[in-house]
């Protein structure tokens, strides 16, 4: 048999051919690039990461100054990206779920408002929303010296929002440990209660016990430490507020834009998920005499979640990726720092490669986590 009639051999041939084509294209591009780099005298490689950055960054979660290296500047950028994505995802889930449930409310007004929110926010580009919130923030709030002070310890001005936080105290460490401990104990109780229920059928109020333990333990530690209640209230010193927790307008605008935009999608996913659980399920659950909370917890939510989780994951990833638009309003996220780096060193290939690598890491690790979660939640199904 001639080889072109043998489908296996033909398959190999196709693949080799495709690889060859792609390889040639890659070779062509790489070759051109090398020639161009050589000709234009652009350095290549990542040595620049160790050189002095010589630019300042507005928001630094870790110690950083202009005398530090580009590498450290980029780490600061990455941490800023993580910070805004993390807070964004949490807020976005909360708002998204509220709006999604509100969309199904029997109250006409509530469901209409939720509908308008979803439709409007989904259909306006996120970049435009960022510009809008940023402009609104600094155009409508007063300067730091006339800062709004709606409640004690909270100041709002066009430099951002300053908030009072508990002044640092040695007991804080132990309170956090107690919190973690509480979470672990709650987890164990949940396992134990499940096991006991499987064996004996007796119900155990897991939820309230867990809440009690998780909140109670830190409270006890706090009381033992003498209930330190001193607050670190921001105060106007020199040009700006000092002390407390300060959030910049860039951060707030970015957060607002991302959260509002993405939460509209989350709400839509939540609504679709809940609606997808057929009414018969609820009725069946009622007919076997389950309590209302049990119907929601044991029948509707597990099924709805399985439908909601995949689109939710992609929305979280979208939020993380969209946080790269921070560059447009001046929040020093990874892209913004990388952009400055490229501008100063001229090493655009390395810079863009780092940007891609950074987001790929975020995306892939989220995917891995979500896949794990998906598998776990699938186990509920028989």
């Amino acid at each position: 048999m001639p080889f072109w009639l043998d489908s296996d051999k033909r398959a190999i041939f196709y693949q080799i051919f495709t690889f060859l084509m792609v390889g040639l294209l890659a070779y062509y591009l790489v070759n051109n690039t090398l020639i161009n780099l050589e000709k234009q005298n652009i350095a290549s490689g990542f040595e620049f990461l160790e050189k002095e950055a010589a630019f300042e960054i507005g928001e630094t979660p870790i110690q950083y100054s202009a005398a530090d290296s580009y590498g450290r500047a980029l780490i600061v950028g990455a941490l800023n990206t993580l910070k805004v994505s993390f807070v964004g995802i949490i807020l976005c889930l909360i708002i998204g779920i509220i709006v999604g449930v509100a969309r199904l409310s029997t109250n006409w007004l509530v469901s209409r408002i939720a509908l308008i929110y979803i439709e409007v926010m989904q259909n306006i580009p996120v970049l435009l929303q960022l510009f809008f919130w940023y402009a609104l923030f600094y155009e409508s709030f007063p300067g730091p010296r006339q800062a709004l002070n709606p409640i004690d310890g909270l100041f709002i001005c066009n430099r951002g929002v300053a908030m009072g936080i508990p002044a640092s105290h040695p007991a804080h460490k132990f309170i956090i440990i107690a919190l973690v401990l509480g979470l672990v104990i709650s987890f164990i109780i949940k396992k134990w209660a499940k096991k006991r229920q499987d064996e004996t059928g007796t119900d155990f109020p897991v939820f309230w016990t867990s809440v009690g333990i998780t909140l109670g333990l830190p409270l006890v530690v706090w009381l033992i430490a003498g209930a330190p209640s001193e607050m670190d209230i921001p105060a106007l010193k020199g040009f700006n507020f000092k002390g407390g927790l300060m959030m910049s307008p860039e951060f707030i605008a970015l957060l607002l834009g991302l959260v509002i935009y993405t939460s509209a999608f989350v709400a839509e996913a939540v609504r679709a998920g809940i609606q997808a659980v057929s009414r018969g399920q609820t009725e069946a659950a009622m007919s076997i005499g389950l309590k209302k909370s049990h119907i929601l917890n044991l029948v509707v939510l597990p099924q709805a979640l399985r439908i909601i989780i995949p689109p939710l994951t992609s929305q979280m990833l979208n939020l993380t990726k969209n946080s790269s638009l921070a560059i447009a309003i001046g929040f020093p996220d990874f892209v913004s720092v990388a952009n400055t780096t490229i501008n100063q060193t001229g090493q655009s290939i390395e810079g863009v490669a780092l940007i891609m690598l950074c987001y790929l890491t975020f995306s892939l690790s989220t995917s891995v986590f979500m896949n794990w979660y998906n598998k776990k939640s699938k186990l509920v199904e028989r």
Binding site: F19, I113, L128, F131, V335, Y359
Partner: protein
């Protein structure tokens, strides 16, 4: 057995109790059915009383519509003059002023095509050809250079036409690429499959802005000395490669939704791979995925706004340029609201279209 005469007419004339119908009934049913709902309604109502009248006062009562910027700066309300005075610049960007009729006609023909596409009864081969002809005509009209039209270099395209072109051409080119990638991802040949998977996951894992950076600052390095591709085309390519990965995922969903029997039937008929795909699988799979494809188009349309970051004069950048001018500095809210309305209209009608299609194409109405 007594025969009771029923006066049907009389019964019909008896009105239901007043609390079940009319405004009161509706209110009771929809706004005050329960303590929590009543409370919510009242809270929302209070909010509206507090915020809606000031907004209306700002936007309509105190606003100025056709004034100079000087009047605007003294005015309490919204300055819509910032838009009316710069309307043509915001819509057409830096396209030569006296040639604005060309992008205008282009957009008009695009809207006509979109109108006919909206109704399924017009779907036919003719419409498809009309689209192809229309796209070519639009490009020619914008670019000029033949039929005695003054050539306008792509660097001078801008505003809404640019936004529309980037998204329409982006989708038209990304669609076939996406279908091929999806087929590749489902392919039995491991080499090709891995290549497609890598491509799709790579692109979906990074933000569009990194691709735009690549297109605008790295891509020139990829080309041999002296060869350049202009900026708009490079951005367009980035959008195409980006959108293709998302379309691939959508199409893959459609392919996975196909019944195995379809493949087997095709095999039984002795069709080869290309015939199977072209005649059996793709026509069905692509039909299923029309609605999600439209939502990819909606995102692509919104994503074109990102070209602001690489200085292309699209709708958003043209609008930003306006607020940058000394006279119109400080009216960003008005300008952004205007741009937001335009984007909203575009996206909303597209998602509406997708919803309508979903209903029409849903031949399986068992749910």
């Amino acid at each position: 057995m007594a025969i009771i005469a029923i006066d049907k007419e009389k019964i019909a004339r008896i009105k239901p109790p007043v609390i079940k119908t009319g405004v009161i009934g509706w209110l009771k049913e929809n706004l005050f059915n329960g303590v929590i709902n009543s409370l919510l309604t009242i809270i929302i109502f209070l909010f509206m009383v507090k915020f809606v009248p000031p907004f209306i006062k700002w936007a309509f009562v105190d606003s100025v519509w056709f004034s100079t910027s000087q009047v605007c700066k003294e005015c309490e309300g919204a300055c819509w003059s910032a838009i009316t005075k710069n309307f043509r610049f915001m819509i057409f960007g830096i396209y030569p002023y006296e040639l604005h009729w060309r992008p205008f006609v282009s957009m008009l023909s695009l809207f006509t095509l979109l109108y006919f596409t909206y109704y399924r009864k017009y779907w036919s081969k003719t419409l498809l050809y009309a689209w192809l002809a229309g796209l070519v005509a639009m490009a020619v009209l914008m670019k000029g250079g033949i039929f005695g039209l003054t050539p306008v270099p792509t660097e001078m395209w801008g505003g809404l036409p640019l936004t529309l072109l980037l998204s329409i051409f982006g989708l038209t080119a990304a669609y076939p690429l996406g279908v091929i990638l999806a087929l590749g991802r489902d392919s039995k040949l491991p080499g090709i499959r891995y290549m497609c998977v890598t491509y799709i996951e790579l692109i979906r894992g990074v933000p569009l802005i990194s691709l735009l950076f690549m297109a605008s600052i790295i891509f020139p390095l990829f080309l041999p000395e002296g060869v350049t591709i202009n900026k708009i085309l490079r951005a367009q390519a980035a959008i195409i490669f980006f959108t293709a990965a998302y379309i691939a995922e959508v199409v893959r969903g459609g392919l996975q939704g196909m019944n195995k029997g379809q493949y087997e039937a095709a095999d039984a008929l002795g069709l080869n791979y290309y015939q199977t795909m072209r005649l059996i699988i793709l026509p069905q799979a692509l039909k299923i995925v029309i609605p999600p494809t439209v939502s990819v188009l909606v995102s692509a349309f919104k994503d074109t706004s990102l070209v602001v970051i690489i200085s292309l004069y699209d709708l958003l950048f043209a609008a930003k340029t306006v607020i940058q001018k000394p006279q119109w500095n400080g009216f960003s809210t008005e300008v952004y609201i205007f741009v937001a309305i335009l984007y909203f209209l575009g996206c909303f009608s597209m998602s509406n279209f997708s919803r309508k299609l979903e209903e029409e194409l849903d031949t399986d109405k068992r749910s």
